[in-house]
Amino acid sequence: MAHDDHHHDHAEGSQLSDTALRVRALESLLIEKGYVDPAALDALIETYETKVGPRNGARVVARAWCDADFRKWLLDDATAAIASLGHTGRQGEHMVAVENTPEVHNMVVCTLCSCYPWPVLGLPPVWYKSAPYRSRAVIDPRGVLDEFGVTIDEAREVRVWDSTAEVRYLVVPMRPEGTDGWSEDELARLVTRDSMIGTGVALDPADLDAAGS
């Protein structure tokens, strides 16, 4: 195993520098050809590094937990409800929200590529795009959830959503116990990225204390 790890690291390292050189050559060619504006590339990268991320989705979920009308709107027409909070556009053009309940746990995958709701969650983590998750989420969702530390009772239905079209799914996790009267801002801190993919659940208030927040 140690030998495999070493080999893997070595291969990854040399591939990486080779790839970095290829990308540099490609970028300079495309700029010189007049096809791309380097300032636009910077703006695109900055958007996904600093502006778009799972805090957007956490606000959507916290609003649904606090506001019954918004929750209903989100479940009926997620695209419009999410747009009302300012999150629209690329890879979130057609949104569907699926709600966890005591009877149902939802989990999202894209077995064919890496479809993911960018406006509310940002760019997907590597594991979401990786072969182990894409292959196993549909055939062994409970095994995958176990690996994420989420155990689903045998009697509870697991619903997997394979994002095969331009429809993007957002999981609305269950609101944790002991949060009565919490503000939307406070609740949003309990909503993790993985809880909105369905490979996690919302944090328990005690988890926030443990994290020293």
Binding site: E32, L44, I45, G89, G92, L112, V126, W127, A131, D162
Partner: protein, 220 residues
């Protein structure tokens, strides 16, 4: 196409490797690759389906051995070459042998926020096209094996499920990826029992949902 990208239900890839506090990009080139892919789609005028199909056409052994942004880079280079915007030699050297071709649009920095916020909706006016299925209808994914791009995953083909939602009238990826235009169709969310897909090993309560176009389906 029955490619290496169509992974649902495969075995042997091992555990899921997670990373705490993962950054959006693990190296600067990953961010540049994402940005180049988005900007060149605007310049070259290719569709998201053409982009996916270009990535899927990597040789299977290469696809499985590459990181995700390496796959994006390979797909981008394929589209640049096929659209006559640069040669492989130019891309390798970084030095143009010929001036740039005319492109559809050059994305400027001040347009980025607006372009991303608008996105590229895939729904089209149905114009009275009849909808063949309704929620509750039984359907089977056809047993078909197109050599081009499709979003009918292999693990669904031949299996029976139930329509649970009608998403609207959406661009058909199979046509769009091949440059045959939008050819929009009704798009349905289909619910399959896990036992139907995977047999006795699956939990009898569990379900898999997938979005499928009307021409992928037959009544069941």
């Amino acid at each position: 196409m029955n490619g290496a990208h169509d992974m649902g239900g495969m075995h042997g890839f091992g555990p899921i490797m997670r990373e705490d506090d993962e950054p959006p990009f693990h190296a600067a080139w990953e961010g540049r690759t994402l940005a180049l892919s988005l900007a060149m789609a605007a310049a070259g005028g290719w569709t998201i389906d053409m982009g996916r199909h270009a990535r899927e056409r990597m040789a299977p052994a290469d696809y499985l051995a590459s990181s995700y942004y390496q796959i994006w880079l390979a797909g981008l280079q394929t589209l640049i070459e096929e659209n006559g915007l640069a040669t492989r030699e130019e891309m390798a050297s970084g030095v143009p042998d010929a001036p740039g071709a005319a492109v559809k649009t050059v994305l400027r920095a001040d347009q980025v926020a607006g372009v991303l916020a608008r996105g590229a909706p895939a729904d089209r006016p149905a114009g009275g096209t009849p909808q063949k299925y309704r929620p509750g209808d039984g359907v089977r994914v056809r047993n078909f094996h197109p050599t081009g791009h499709t979003r009918a995953a292999r693990y669904l083909r031949g299996h029976t499920g139930q329509i649970v939602r009608v998403h609207g009238f959406h661009v058909l990826p199979d046509a769009s990826a091949a440059g045959r235009g939008d050819q929009p169709e009704w798009l349905y969310c289909v619910r399959f029992s896990a036992r139907e897909l995977w047999g006795e090993q699956a939990n009898a309560r569990d379900h898999v949902h997938a979005d499928q176009w009307e021409s992928y389906l037959e009544p069941a």
